[in-house]
């Protein structure tokens, strides 16, 4: 009969399926990641690189690509007073939103880290503003901060304080816009910090309270230094987001130009006005690149500052830690 032939066929079939399986193992990973990389290259990477190309060309919304102009767009933008005003406003709003936000979030996180009843309820409560769109937040707050009939000025009036020109004056408008940012993000930041706090070994606190350290002392000498990586993360991400601020200043009044005297015009509003107001894409692309460089620079500075501040406070040194080992060891012997 044909048994020998059958065997040979079977062997070949097994060899073939092994080969298939081999290729399956080899190729599958690339198949799984390729949709992401292909789509990302088209929709993410290409526009990033192409911005550089646009920024060194004369380029208008109607006419399209024009001549190569080198760095002319950059030097034009850098010579505009508007650009520097926008830069100053952006930084002012950014600092007014980040510093109080992180400080207050630290306090909220410390309180949430107590042994609370109904933990989830409180955590959800502080997160609530996060689901309100920035556009919606802005519309609400720009009403509350109205110059004439706003709630805030009404309350100030009842307390006998003269009304503040929240829209027409520079610093008050920055405060109002920063308040919107803080309203939406403080609870969110607090939850991130809370997660960081929960990862700190409780033994450190026990050792500190044996040594007679007060609660505030424990907060500054244990919590803050131990939170360093989380703090760096929070500060870096809010720098990236904060310097691009657009929604809030754009909708702070109905004209969207950042105020009659550019009181609260930010970099991204300036970018938008160049690109979609003056229809000059070359210059808008140049602003996009400048903003990117500024963000990278500030990110690095932030990183350096956060490191030094947190490091100088760190007194959670070894002698205290060694004491905390004791109870554990005894648990075993008991």
């Amino acid at each position: 009969m044909t048994t020998a032939l059958d065997d040979e066929r079977r062997i070949r079939r097994i060899a073939f399926s092994q080969k298939l399986s081999h290729w399956d193992v080899k190729i599958s990973p690339y198949l799984y990641i390729s949709p992401f990389f292909i789509l990302f290259t088209v929709t993410g990477l290409f526009p990033l690189l192409y911005t550089a190309y646009v920024s060194v060309h004369e380029w208008h919304l109607i006419g399209g690509e024009g001549d190569f102009v080198g760095l002319d767009n950059f030097s034009f933008v850098l010579q505009q007073p508007q650009f520097w005003i926008a830069l100053r406003n952006t930084f002012s709003i950014f600092l007014l939103s980040m510093i109080p936000q992180v400080t207050f979030a630290l306090v909220i996180a410390a309180v949430l880290n107590e042994n609370l009843r109904a933990k989830t309820f409180w955590r959800m409560g502080v997160l609530l503003p996060y689901i309100v769109a920035p556009v919606a937040v802005t519309l609400i707050f720009s009403n509350m901060f109205g110059d004439q009939y706003g709630l805030v000025n009404n309350l100030l009036g009842q307390a006998g304080i003269a009304p503040v020109q929240w829209h027409s004056q520079e610093l008050p408008s920055h405060v109002a816009i920063a308040t919107m940012v803080n309203f939406r993000w403080t609870g969110y930041t607090a939850l991130i910090l809370l997660a960081g706090m929960q990862a700190i070994p409780r033994d450190l606190y026990e050792a500190a309270s044996i040594d007679g350290a007060s609660k505030p002392r424990q907060f500054f000498s244990i919590t803050i230094p131990q939170l360093r990586p989380t703090l760096i993360f929070v500060i870096v991400t809010s720098t990236i987001g904060g310097l691009q601020i657009f929604d809030e200043p754009r909708l702070y009044d109905q004209y969207g130009q950042g105020g009659a005297n550019s009181q609260w015009m930010t970099i991204t509003i300036y970018l938008y006005n160049l690109g979609w107001g003056q229809l000059n894409f070359g210059r808008a692309a140049a602003v996009a690149w400048l903003l990117f460089l500024i963000i990278v620079l500030i990110g690095l500075v932030n990183l350096a500052i956060t490191r030094t501040i947190a490091a100088s406070n760190d007194i959670t040194a070894t002698p205290r830690k060694s004491k905390t080992v004791q109870p554990r060891r005894q648990k075993v012997t008991a």
Partner: protein, 307 residues
């Protein structure tokens, strides 16, 4: 404080320990549960914080349920009026804003983007966390590095491309740039790294499952909690996104934030109508928050997300 360890409890002589000391030691594993409950002040502080988070929404309902005169009154009104439905109707019937269309568009865009980001992120995250292939580390670092690049950097060419493709003004122009997310890939990679043991994958492979079957029947079910959280985040951030839809869409075909901006852009702003619109656009996410807020909280605490 009940949680504080007195020196006696820390250093008992094990051999001759009196029984009560032993009990104290044995109870140590429970000490977290026995931590002292915070006092009245703590709850008062938290209640004040939550009041602060709710108040702007309440205020917006207050104005949104009044009439135009509510805003210009000198004394402050603390209770809602009866005009909410009237104001909501004038939002929905406003012909220059297309609010109904905006609601539909926001639902479509947010759902499509959330589903596609979750799908592609799960697939790549699984490969990055659990499969071996050449160039893996480099590619993963690349993914993480792109997360730090601001979105604004790409909008000019993106707009040029969408205009050339005749897509400006369509929902596709909003959806396409968002269908994959480096953050999503990073998130799923981290989750698979912790939550899916290699043994499970190997067991499936030994049983003769192909790579894709292993992914489908082993990895995908394991990824469900993380995928749900990622989907929730992407849904919310797409729903609330303004900058790019504002640039690429027009007033005939807006998403909700764009429609809200249009409501305000008239020469005379009637805040009772604008803030009624704010309430209308926030209610869907409010419902989502009540249903899934718990997951949102644990998602933020696990992944430390911002976006």
């Amino acid at each position: 404080m009940t949680t504080q360890l007195t020196p006696e409890r820390v250093e008992p002589h094990v051999g001759s320990a009196p029984s009560e000391q032993r009990r104290a030691i044995r109870q140590r594993p429970n000490r977290l549960a026995n931590r002292q409950r915070p006092g009245f002040l703590t709850y008062g502080f938290l209640a004040a914080v939550i009041l602060g988070s709710v108040f702007p929404l309440y205020w917006s309902f207050l104005i949104g349920s009044g009439d135009a005169s509510t805003i210009t009154r000198q004394d402050i009104v603390w209770w809602p009026g009866g005009n909410f439905l009237v104001n909501a109707a004038s939002v929905l019937e406003n012909e220059s804003v297309n609010f109904w269309r905006a609601i539909g568009n926001s639902i479509i865009v947010s759902t499509v983007v959330a589903v596609s980001v979750v799908f592609f992120s799960t697939l790549s995250g699984y490969a990055f966390a659990k499969l071996r292939f050449r160039g893996k580390t480099g590619l993963l670092i690349f993914v993480i590095a792109t997360m730090a690049v601001p979105t604004q950097l790409g909008i000019v060419p993106l707009f040029i491309a969408m205009s050339k493709l005749q897509l400006a003004g369509t929902l596709a122009a909003v959806i396409l740039p968002a269908i994959v997310s480096a953050f999503g890939v990073f998130w799923m990679t981290q989750y698979f790294g912790q939550a899916l043991p290699f043994e499970l994958i190997e067991a499936a492979r030994v049983d003769g499952a192909s790579m894709i079957r292993t992914f489908w029947h082993v990895a995908l079910p394991a990824a469900r909690p993380a995928a749900a959280m990622l989907g929730l985040f992407i849904f919310i951030s797409t729903w609330t996104n303004f900058f790019w839809p504002f640039i690429v869409l027009d007033r005939q075909n807006p998403t909700l934030p764009v429609a809200l901006a249009l409501l305000q852009s008239n020469y005379f702003v009637d805040y009772s109508v604008v803030l009624a619109g704010v309430i209308l656009s926030t209610v869907p996410l409010l419902i989502l928050f009540i249903v899934a807020g718990r997951q949102l909280v644990s998602g933020i605490m696990q992944g430390a997300v911002k976006g």
